[in-house]
């Protein structure tokens, strides 16, 4: 009866996330973009020196990656797995009370539409997945033939996403809606196209995204043009 078995030791990674300053940095990077060290220092509310030390640790722990560009160094999350851990943690963490009117406005914005690292989430993400299912384009873990045609026609590189080592098209549980939206390589590819087409644009609040007029029309047309091939709403 001794040390028993060695699991993966999670403590060091958790310790990296456990510091409030580092947590703020990681949260700021949750929208998938790369931010400069100075910006991260500002959002975390610490001096540049302090932020630099934290970033060095996060880098060493492989939670973030860095790309040097001139005199700036842009940091980003090391991958979607990191984002998923942060989302999972957020799911069991106390949500601090919303205070100001402005904050509640921003909170509503995030509930409406936001990115979950690199794919669409919030009511918009959940709604999109619903319409894909209702239209018979997606069956819970893969796109149907009709779905592949639909998305390819939109400009989504479905084959490329399928070839990725990342999971192809898993459902990703949404911690505000408590319902699923489209995640994985396909979710990211679709979201990329939504931005390229200008159907969604990034809002002023970090992870918020906004449906444009073009997007409203485009999505409506996209799902209206096809007759409903299957009316088996998944409970």
């Amino acid at each position: 009866m001794e040390p028993i078995v060695r699991d993966a030791d999670i403590a060091p990674v958790a310790a990296l996330i456990a510091d409030p300053t580092r947590a703020a940095i990681l949260t700021a990077l949750l929208d998938g973009r790369a931010l400069a060290a100075g910006e991260l220092a500002r959002v975390a509310g610490v001096s540049a020196a302090t932020a630099s030390a934290h970033l060095a640790k996060l880098l060493d722990g492989r939670l973030v990656g860095v790309v040097r560009q001139g005199r700036h160094r842009y940091y980003r999350l090391a991958g979607h797995e990191i984002a998923e851990v942060l989302e999972a943690l957020a799911g069991i963490s106390a949500r601090p009370p919303v205070r100001s009117l402005r904050q509640s406005r921003q909170a509503r914005q995030l509930e409406e539409a936001r990115t979950c690292y690199d794919h669409l989430a919030g009511r918009a993400g959940v709604g999109l997945l619903d319409r894909l299912k209702e239209g018979g384009y997606y069956d819970g873990h893969d796109v149907t033939e009709a779905g592949e045609r639909l998305l390819s026609g939109l400009g989504v590189d479905v084959a490329g996403a399928r070839a990725s080592r990342r999971r192809f098209a898993p459902e990703c549980l949404d911690w505000t809606e408590r319902r699923a939206h489209l995640g994985g390589a396909l979710g990211a590819a679709v979201t990329e196209v939504l931005f390229e087409r200008g159907w969604y644009r990034r809002g002023s609040v970090p992870r918020a995204v906004i449906l444009t007029d073009a997007g409203r029309e485009g999505l409506e047309e996209l799902f209206a043009s096809k007759e409903l091939t299957s009316v088996t709403p998944v409970t």
Copy 2:
């Protein structure tokens, strides 16, 4: 350009997991059972007083629950969400090198079959899900009609699992196999039946489970009795 938006603050929860002793305690509870405070002190390698202090913090942070029974206090994880966070963290954590022969034997045992909180994982879990899919009993997010018959016949309370507030039958990504096994309320219900029938029993290593002879026969018969209704192996 001020405080921006308040996300759920994940740092306090991460800090609870970040201490090696607490991480050891949580990992020990990962098999879903409740352990007495003294046992947890032993597996973590600290004095009873130290363990008690840690358990008080975990309790305060709602990561564990406690049930008093006589002069013992049994602690367990507060829910499957907690287990999922720990699994996700393990997925991005460095796996410590296996040292002794005994440890590598145990590691192989865990890779073969183990519990993932309250449902079957490892090669056994992945294999079970594969056979459910191959037989047309499960379609990636729900059981088919045939699947409901099969499992109900086995004694699984499918309706009860479906009524649960927990997700019904999601695929759960396995961090050793990097493939999916059956999770959620249904995964737990199925696993419960497997234990009840004596098809699997718990091994000596905490999360390890072992296929019994009865289990080998039972599973073989279960999947052989039905002809393969569908031969569309999911890539």
